[in-house]
């Protein structure tokens, strides 16, 4: 009996260990090591911190870095502000029959490739796009307006792309909120805003935390949306990494950037978890 238990244990453990160590741990150690390698004046590979020095010396690098972090936070806030009323409506206001239908409708666009969604926004918003066509037709504008390739559009695109990951945890958090708590608060003479502030948001905090972490992480690591909707001025840090790898073929520099991005995202997520007093395991569940 005992040996049977052990056999099954190793059977479960082995693939998981292989997966985590070969595909997660080793590559990231390699990333860290390679970020400290570089060519010296002779063209030999040596240990160096030049890659990190470059980052701090070259203003465009850390400017992009800070900008990316701030915009990812702005995206997370916008997503939350938009997702809160939507999920509230679906859980607490929509009629039970339309509720399932609305939920499916809400999720459907996110099953479609991000590229398709971004492409849709491009043909809607660009200078020769659908929106401009209607604006010109109705005479609201005389000249077509370029609505793509600016920061606002880029953030809207990021919000659109990561919406789902805020709405879903918020919906499940609100489903566990007993209606009678809201009724009790109302019975005790609370206004709508007070109920939102003192009952709904505190109750949904775990959902908000997990949603915010995922949205932040996705926005920070996004490449498609800033690249296609923000255009040349998007200055997103993933693009710097891409350029180092694919355009300049300077893998060591790219590794350093990658590691910095990883540290940034881990730090902000850690702070987020500390502030909301949650653990990663709880958030994932």
């Amino acid at each position: 009996m005992k040996s049977g238990f052990r056999l099954s244990f190793w059977l479960f453990l082995a693939p998981v260990l292989l997966w985590l160590f070969l595909l997660i741990v080793l590559p990231h150690i390699d990333l860290l090591l390679l970020s400290f390698r570089g060519e010296n004046d002779m063209g030999d590979l040596v240990w160096t911190i030049d890659n990190y020095k470059n980052f701090f010396i070259e203003p465009i690098y850390w400017y992009t870095f800070v900008r990316t972090a701030l915009y990812a936070i702005v995206t997370t806030l916008c997503t939350f502000v938009l997702a809160l009323p939507v999920s509230f409506y679906i859980v607490k206001l929509a009629r039970p029959r339309t509720r399932g239908f609305l939920t499916v409708l809400l999720l459907l666009p996110f099953w479609v490739s991000e590229l398709v969604r971004v492409y849709g926004w491009m043909i809607l918003l660009r200078e020769s796009g659908v929106l401009n066509y209607f604006l010109l037709k109705t005479g609201l504008v005389q000249q077509p307006v370029e609505m793509l390739y600016n920061d606002v559009t880029m953030i809207m695109g990021l919000v659109y792309t990561s919406m789902l990951f805020m709405v879903v945890p918020l919906i499940s958090a609100m489903e566990s909120l007993d209606d009678s708590l809201i009724e009790a608060a109302s019975d005790l003479e609370a206004s709508r805003f007070t109920i939102l502030r003192t009952i709904i948001i505190p109750h949904c905090k775990p959902g908000i935390t997990s949603g915010a972490i995922v949205v932040f992480m996705l926005a920070l690591g996004n490449y498609l949306t800033p690249n296609l909707m923000g255009g040349k001025n998007s200055l997103w840090f993933t693009e710097q990494i891409y350029n180092q790898f694919i355009a300049s073929f300077n893998w060591n520099q790219g590794a350093a950037f990658g590691f910095l991005l990883l540290v940034l995202s881990s730090c902000i997520i850690w702070v987020g978890l500390k502030l909301s007093r949650h653990r990663l395991g709880e958030v994932a569940a």
Binding site: E183, A184, D187, L188, E189, A190, T198, I199, H203
Partner: protein, 357 residues
């Protein structure tokens, strides 16, 4: 005495279904009023209309002489203790109680004073800093009530708040709730499907069935003078015979299915030959009566003894197979009775009740 709550001709229908059907009643100030009925009888709908969470289709609700039509729940002088209490888990006891007072913009020193006073009243002094999950079931109960009482409502509504407690605690809370109501003097309106809760605590009880009030009265009236067969069956236990009236008059003579003739009182007169149901409480049946004058007597076989302390009964069966419950007083007088014994039962005509089928 003035009425705290008056309800007049209240109707609430959902499509074809009428949940509350033309209900009228008054609740005098300071009384403990229960609405008792099986689940689905419309009592929760009625309560939610009084609280303002639901609008009546027609009829009036008046609280302290003020018409409540169109008044939202947060503006009504009533507070509701929810079925599952709805204590805010994200706040501690003091914050829960302070919640409503803060909404009124009361000064924080005054709020602290009132919280202490009300916690004292519900026998939980010093519990303000506790988290809700640290409380026992009975303590949660009292916090939920304190949270409402601190608002000084004209009427406190309670929606089966004891339902979630275990039996022992429920028995204890019944007494406590009754004492608390007597102490604070606020009008309580209590919804329940548990007749013992209603009987123990209430000054007045309304028995509700299928959206209507069957009878309103004191616990004793409901128990000893039920006005409808539903009340007779629902409040307390009853043995039932169906039979036919063979002699009408001040007292009826009824022939049961087993061809037994019983004399019984009746609060209505029934024509000879009409079919009736005869109700009789288990405690009205006397075992082996010494003086059988004026009594209806008959013999039964003891099937089993349902021992339950002071509430023990005999399950007996009549020759025709009809089962009867008989109270078994625990004064050692009947310790000799064993299953299978044949015993004589007798009951006084004043104890029976007849209703037309």
């Amino acid at each position: 005495m003035a009425n705290d709550l008056s309800v007049g001709n209240l109707i609430r229908s959902f499509g074809d279904f009428t949940a509350v059907d033309n209900v009228s009643f008054d609740v005098p100030q300071g009384s403990f009023f229960s609405i008792l009925g099986p689940s689905g009888c419309g009592k929760t709908t009625l309560l939610r209309m009084i609280a303002g969470f639901d609008e009546p289709s027609s009829g009036t609700i008046t609280i302290r002489d003020q018409d409540m039509r169109g008044v939202p729940p947060n503006k009504r002088p009533v507070n509701l203790v929810f079925q599952h209490l709805a204590l805010f888990p994200m706040m501690n006891v003091a914050d829960n109680i302070a919640f409503g007072l803060k909404r009124r913009g009361m000064k924080s020193t005054e709020i602290v004073r009132r919280i202490e006073a009300i916690l004292e009243r519900v026998d939980l002094p010093g519990y303000g800093k506790k988290q809700i999950r640290q409380l026992s079931g009975g303590q949660k109960q009292r916090v939920a009530i304190a949270r409402c009482l601190v608002m000084e409502p004209s009427v406190l509504l309670l929606d089966e708040p004891l339902g979630a407690l275990d039996l022992k605690l429920r028995e204890q809370m019944k007494v406590e709730l009754k004492k608390l109501q007597a102490k604070v003097g606020t009008t309580f309106i209590y919804i329940t499907h548990d007749q013992s809760e209603a009987l123990v605590m209430s000054d007045h009880i309304a028995v509700m069935n299928e959206g209507r009030f069957e009878q309103v009265g004191s616990p004793r009236e409901l128990y000893s003078e039920p006005q409808t067969p539903f009340v007779a069956r629902f409040v307390g236990d009853n043995n039932v015979w169906s039979g036919e009236v063979v002699e009408s008059g001040e007292r009826l003579t009824v022939r049961t299915g087993e061809e037994l003739l019983f004399t019984t009182r009746s609060h209505k007169s029934y024509a000879k030959g009409s079919r009736v149901d005869l109700f009789l409480r288990p405690e009205a049946l006397r075992i082996e009566p010494t003086d059988t004058n004026d009594l209806n007597t008959f013999e039964v076989d003891v099937k089993t003894i349902l021992f339950d302390g002071a509430n023990s009964r005999l399950l007996t069966v009549m020759p025709g197979g009809h089962e009867l419950l008989v109270s078994l007083p625990q004064n050692r007088q009947f310790d000799h009775i064993r299953p299978g014994d044949r015993i004589l039962l007798g009951w006084h005509p004043d104890a029976g009740l007849c209703f037309k089928v």
